[in-house]
Symmetry: C2
């Protein structure tokens, strides 16, 4: 994931706070701690590793709360959820990041990001043709890294 030094954690917290208010959901310390944890990471992660990482850092939190909060964050677009062909959801922060798609190496599992404006053209055209309001998409390319890559993930 590209680093983006302009992302201000406070801005993100404000957006989340506002989203919670709109939903009449409570602003609990756990929810903000999870948000912070996610925005301190720079990779794709799954719910379990997020949970483990917080436990390791002595933050008392439960899996239930992690899943619950991830869903809240996805619903306000602060986090994106992916299924890279496995039965394990992967997440990444998304505020301040350009929309992008993913290229996944079948051998080493590495995930690379890319952007292509044609994706937006496809969304627009297919929405029109098929009378469908397109609100999101997922495009993953699968294959093999060039140089040598090991099965590490």
């Amino acid at each position: 994931m590209q680093s983006n030094p302009t992302t201000d954690i406070q801005q993100v917290k404000d957006i989340f706070s506002e989203h919670l208010r709109e939903r009449k959901a409570r602003r609990t310390p756990e929810r903000f701690a999870i948000l912070e944890e996610i925005y301190n990471r720079d990779d794709h992660f799954d719910a379990e590793s997020l949970y483990i990482h917080m436990k390791t850092n002595n933050y008392r939190v439960s899996r239930a709360t992690v899943y619950n909060t991830l869903e809240l964050l996805v619903s306000c677009d602060l986090v994106k959820k992916h299924q890279f062909g496995k039965n394990l959801a992967q997440y990444e922060k998304s505020y301040g990041y350009k929309q992008h798609d993913h290229l996944i190496c079948n051998t080493c599992g590495r995930v690379t990001e890319f952007c292509d404006p044609r994706v937006q053209q496809i969304k627009n055209m297919m929405g029109d043709i098929l009378s469908f309001r397109v609100t999101g998409h997922s495009l993953n390319l699968y294959g093999e890294c060039a140089g040598a890559c090991e099965r590490t993930q």
Copy 2:
């Protein structure tokens, strides 16, 4: 899924048979029964519903064999496997069908297919730019059907 009257089940069985031979895997009646079952369907399905359908038709088969065979069929491109954002793999027959992508209604779950040549252009260009051998892809558009749709699936 578009119907395709030109698909000949015998042709498909021959391809599978050849694939099994190459792999030095056995040509068991179960494997061909599952292949036939899949090619008699015209929709996207999950492993459990395929299993249930065969049991209902009094074909004695186990989940283990269904999963095993689905993997074999995916590996020789007779079946495609999808993850439409849920933790439940969906499959569809693919021999004789044009490559296509999917549009999924978040409300009613309906899956519509579409083709757009720009997907291939993106694959080619990104493979080049990122030194990646692209062997497959998955493009799903999510949104809402135009007219009224009910949550039925």
